[in-house]
């Protein structure tokens, strides 16, 4: 049993996940992510470790994608169509549905807007998706006679799954990203006592034990409310799917309760579509939403309307959800540039930002940003960080370890220092 992290991605840095596991003679690639902080070759994993020994298809028995975030699946068309892989790729149904849309969106930003070449095409995304086999939760998929895989619910985003990989009596569990507490739209990750030889767990929030969800929500609402009250504009950079829906549900109910009038907008395109995916895949959301969806579908919003680019210049308060979440390109960055100069405004970063992105820079306190064309942008607006991204915290990771009872634990997808801390904690307790 051996584990290899492809390139400087997943091992120690929240950047891109791509892990190679060899188990009893079978080779499985776990996730195929890209790094959003880079614009050159470094954004994709380095597959030469595999290709120097021949073709990917001959070497790999299968590829597993845990969820649709680009740091977990963004390199997939590059990997399968440009490097060349024809074997099976496994993911859950919602991931299979949403993944190609995010890939296409990302391709458009990169190629059409930034004019980069040497990138995958729309056709490559389509061809890549043809190699995908969708799996049900808890279904035992027999990849070949010896290798079997099984998906477990992971929370985190719609369709996210943890995977058990099993050959004979050896087994590995790969968590992808997961969260152990149910939120406003998703349930908590769950796994049975499968006692794997190795548990590969993400550790984005390895050192944090986060305060209660309710406090964070109250905090968030208070900040949004105050800004709107004093006539400011609130920008919330999000990814189209995931946190966005949770925060929308939160704001929608708050606006309803407080009878607020300031408009809430959601940047168009992906988002309406995104809400539609949530409606159709409602069985993947949390119990409360599933139970009441016939009477009231939580993803049909009354107060939240589609955003038009011209609205950004409207006077008066407003709240805008805009993509992408790390302020590295697209509409969220455009709006940010417009509003950054006014101290009445606020930007709320509800998730983690990788190094190199504008999001990461302003969160680390930088107030003078060098933009394209050597322009300097001075940030006067308030910058707030709220950890809403649905990753397991230290407590959650320990909880999962208790559930699965693995013989060994491997932490990935986190920062070195934090992982060291958690390592000690795990050693203490188990």
């Amino acid at each position: 049993l051996s584990v290899f992290c492809l390139g400087p991605g997943a091992g120690q840095d929240v950047g891109r996940s791509c892990i190679l596991v060899s188990i009893a003679g079978k080779n499985v690639m776990l996730d195929c992510g890209m790094h959003m902080g880079y614009n050159d070759d470094r954004r994709f994993p380095d597959f030469s470790y595999i290709t120097q020994n021949g073709r990917l298809t001959d070497f790999l028995d299968c590829v597993i994608i845990s969820h649709f975030h680009l740091d977990h699946c963004g390199a997939l068309p590059y990997f399968s169509e440009m490097v060349g892989y024809d074997g099976p790729i496994y993911m859950t149904h919602p991931t299979k549905a949403i993944c190609p849309i995010l890939l296409e969106d990302y391709r458009k930003i990169t190629v059409d807007k930034k004019g980069e070449t040497n990138f995958f095409t729309s056709q490559m995304i389509k061809d890549c998706m043809k190699k995908v086999v969708a799996v049900h939760l808890h279904q035992t998929v027999q990849v070949d006679e010896e290798l079997e895989i099984k998906a477990y619910y992971a929370g985190h985003v719609l369709g996210a799954a943890m995977f058990q990989i099993k050959v004979g009596c050896e087994s590995v569990v790969y968590t992808g990203d997961y969260n152990m507490t149910p939120d406003r739209h998703l349930g908590a990750a769950w796994i049975d006592k499968c006692r794997p030889d190795l548990l590969i767990s993400e550790s984005t929030y390895a050192t944090t034990i986060r305060d209660s969800k309710r406090c964070r929500e109250r905090d968030f609402l208070k900040k949004v409310h105050e800004t709107v009250e004093r006539g400011g504009k609130v920008l919330i950079p999000v990814f189209a799917l995931g946190r966005a829906q949770e925060l929308c549900i939160l704001l929608e109910t708050f606006w309803e309760r407080m009878n607020l009038k300031a408009p809430i907008y959601f940047s168009t395109g992906l988002t309406e579509k995104a809400n539609h995916y949530y409606k159709l895949f409602i069985t993947w959301t949390n119990q409360k939403i599933r139970k009441t969806f016939v009477q009231r579908n939580m993803f049909e919003f009354k107060h939240i309307k589609a955003f038009d680019r011209a609205f950004a210049d409207n006077p008066g308060p407003m709240v805008v959800f805009a993509t992408p979440g790390m302020l590295h390109a697209g509409q969220s960055l455009q709006i940010f540039r417009k509003w950054a100069g006014n101290e009445k405004n606020m930007v709320i970063m509800p998730g983690y930002c990788v190094q190199g992105t504008v999001g990461h820079k302003i969160l680390s306190g930088q107030r003078k940003l060098e933009m394209e064309g050597r322009q300097i942008l001075e940030v006067k607006m308030q910058v707030e960080y709220m950890s809403f991204s649905a990753h397991a915290d230290a407590k959650g990771i320990m909880q999962l370890i208790r559930q699965a009872e693995p013989r060994n634990v491997l932490l990935v997808h986190g920062e070195a220092k934090k992982m060291e801390f958690l390592k000690q904690k795990i050693e203490q307790e188990f």
Binding site: H136, T140, K273, K279, L280, T283
Partner: protein
């Protein structure tokens, strides 16, 4: 291996399988054909029904005229309708470990089993099965509870009285076991015992048995089940379909290599082609509406109705029906339509692709959006305001004994412009109509049953080749009304074993092997000896450790050290002390040579008898027997130990030791 057969209805099965120390109930079907013997429950008081004359015995006695009413030559029980439960006396149902559900039609008896028999186990079913099963139960409870009936007839059930009744009441089985409908709290309690499973999920039962649901292609979330241990495999096929309708296609490959295949839930209308029936359905519907009549479609709130709506969606405009309102009336109509759209993973490939777009998989979403299809919880309220004729109404229950359908039968029955179209195959349409006779409205019978027909079954059996087939007795002979159609029965070799209600079958299968794991350290110490080319043997001395029905061979304990200390010797709890090993014997004894050897050693009166299992060698003078069988040899001699030892040594000469 035993199978207890608790239901005689081939499409609403309820069997209990005893398999390797587990007791597994397969499906929990509720036979609702019993309700055909009852008068309909009208939502609004019906003068016609309340004026029906009481039934009078031939000798003129009238003591039953309150309980039994006569309508057009048929006799009906005037009481709350009752259902025929699965047998509850054949075995103690509290010993059932798990219940496996194959589809939502086959779980309707669940509350009776889980709430009244002391059942403490787990029920396994897929998510669509549970959700839609809940809707079916809700509709059933709702349509019976909202029409409270004062009378509950029981006199007619007396055996002496029942004998005097006309058919079919006279021949109704187990009437004393018929029960009234359960309540919502009982439904909720029953459903709370269900654990959700996905297709191809392997579920371990006590470490002894593994069960796995497979897609059966018949309905949303419908499944066949594999019940297997390491060396035995039973397939339970119930309600499967090879037609392309909305559900995920049937998984046939996983049924291969079964020792026993239990086959239930075949089509109830083997002579009708479902596609042809759908065509007839559409043309009859269009004709009636064009002539200004209304169409009534008695149906369940889920299942075939989705396919019918999809056909109509394509058909409406071309048939010029775009202005005709379609009504779907059921307390669960809205839920059913909504639920159908969220089970993408359980749908056929085409529908899945639509969800990826993302679009609703079923076109009834568009019918609702464009106001062509409207749904209502009942005929009261909004419906009475919106109601326009001519129209098409989908509503339940298909038995025509309760639900809103009763109202429409009373309302539309008198006009020959209207048509009732039967699509559900579970009830004889003539029996369903009996209490409404005389009837002017047209009746069209287009039963749509997508389950396997006999041609498909014989193809399937050839494909998966089970060693034995077990099925309800109805499938081993042609249907009673078409006794010449020998093609309408299961044809396979060896012939299927058949069962009927309240029978216990011994499945033709013996357990011969058990899987045992060997610890690596122990495996290392083995020295195999080749006794025949290609066959090597090794002796194993080990401790057999059995826990959770898993067997592991561990290294034997080291011989106890001579007690040096004065400490009291600890009695080891899990490892027995090791005895010196006796040599193991193998080989067979050639009788002729053995007799010669005996004679050489001075036994003169040797006689040999052949038996079914081997030979008996008789030593008459010594009054001694030597039984030689395939797997045992016995020397039977009374009180002559030296003789026994002598004979034993002679026997041992013929055997190999190692």
């Amino acid at each position: 291996f035993f199978q207890y057969c608790l239901s005689g209805h081939p499409t609403l099965p309820c069997n209990v399988l005893k398999f390797k120390s587990t007791t597994i109930m397969l499906d929990c079907g509720l036979d609702m054909t019993s309700t055909l013997n009852f008068l309909p429950l009208p939502l609004v008081q019906s003068p016609r029904l309340s004026k029906l004359p009481g039934w009078v015995l031939k000798d003129g006695s009238t003591f039953l005229d309150k309980e039994l009413k006569e309508c057009s030559g048929h006799v009906f029980v005037d009481s709350v309708p009752e259902f025929c439960l699965p047998e509850t006396e054949l075995l103690d149902l509290s010993t059932v470990d798990v219940i496996l559900i194959s589809n939502y039609h086959c779980m309707m008896a669940l509350p009776y089993i889980t709430e009244y028999t002391g059942f403490t186990g787990t029920v396994y079913a897929t998510e669509p099965t549970v959700q839609i099963g809940r809707l079916l139960m809700e509709e059933l409870v709702n349509s019976i509870e909202r029409v409270p009936k004062a009378q509950s007839a029981s006199m007619w059930k007396n055996k002496e009285v029942q004998r005097l009744l006309p058919a079919p009441l006279k021949d109704a089985v187990e009437v004393s076991m018929w029960r009234k409908c359960y309540t919502m709290p009982e439904v909720n309690a029953a459903l709370s015992k269900i654990q959700l499973v996905g297709y191809s999920q392997k579920i371990e039962l006590f470490g002894a048995v593994q069960v796995t649901p497979l897609s059966s292609g018949y309905a949303l979330g419908s499944s066949n089940w594999i019940i297997q241990s390491h060396y035995e495999k039973v397939s339970y096929v119930s309600g499967s379909s090879l037609l392309t309708t909305h559900p995920q296609p049937m998984d046939q490959a996983s049924l291969k290599n079964s020792d026993v295949l239990i086959l239930t839930g075949l089509t109830q209308i083997p002579t009708a082609n479902p596609d042809g029936m759908v065509g007839e359905f559409c043309s009859n519907l269009a004709m009636t509406v064009r002539n200004g009549g209304n169409v009534l479609v008695p149906c369940y709130p889920s299942g075939v109705i989705y396919d019918l709506l999809e056909c109509l969606y394509q058909y409406i405009d071309s048939a010029g029906l775009s202005n005709v309102p379609f009504y779907f009336i059921s307390p669960v109509a809205n839920s059913s339509l909504e639920f159908s759209q969220i089970f993408a993973e359980w749908l056929c490939h085409n529908k899945q692709t639509k969800v990826y777009l993302p679009e609703p998989p079923f076109p009834h979403a568009e019918l609702i959006q464009t106001n062509k299809l409207k749904h209502y919880p009942s005929i009261h309220g909004d419906f009475s305001n919106d109601f326009k004729q001519p129209c098409v109404v989908f509503t339940g229950h298909p038995s025509l004994r309760f639900g809103d359908v009763v109202h429409f039968m009373e309302l539309w029955g008198k006009s020959s412009l209207n048509t009732v179209i039967f699509t559900e195959p579970d009830f004889s349409y003539l029996d369903a109509l009996a209490p409404y006779q005389p009837l002017a409205m047209k009746c069209v019978y287009c039963p749509i049953d997508t389950r396997l027909n006999f041609i498909q079954v014989s193809k399937l059996l050839k494909e998966v080749q089970p060693l034995h087939v077990v099925c309800p007795e109805q499938y081993t002979q042609p249907p009673p009304t078409q006794s010449h159609r020998t093609d309408l029965m299961i044809d396979c070799q060896p012939p299927p074993m058949s069962y009927r209600r309240a029978e216990v079958l011994t499945l033709p299968y013996k357990r011969r092997y058990e899987k045992i794991e060997i610890m690596p350290e122990l495996a290392d110490s083995l020295v195999p000896l080749e006794i025949k080319p290609g066959i090597s043997l090794a002796t194993v001395s080990a401790v057999l450790h059995t826990k959770d029905n898993k067997h592991v061979l561990q290294l034997p304990p080291k011989p106890p050290q001579p007690a040096a200390s004065k400490k009291r010797k600890r009695v080891s709890d899990d490892v027995p002390e090791c005895k010196p090993l006796k040599p193991l014997l193998s080989g067979s004894i050639p009788v002729d040579q053995f007799v010669q050897t005996l004679e050489k050693h001075g036994f003169s009166d040797v006689k040999v008898e052949d038996t079914a299992k081997g030979h008996i060698v008789l030593l008459q003078e010594a009054e001694t027997l030597i039984q030689i069988e395939e797997d045992s040899t016995h020397i039977i001699c009374d009180n002559d130990e030296p003789l026994r030892v002598k004979l034993r040594d002679l026997v041992l000469k013929f055997l190999q030791k190692f």
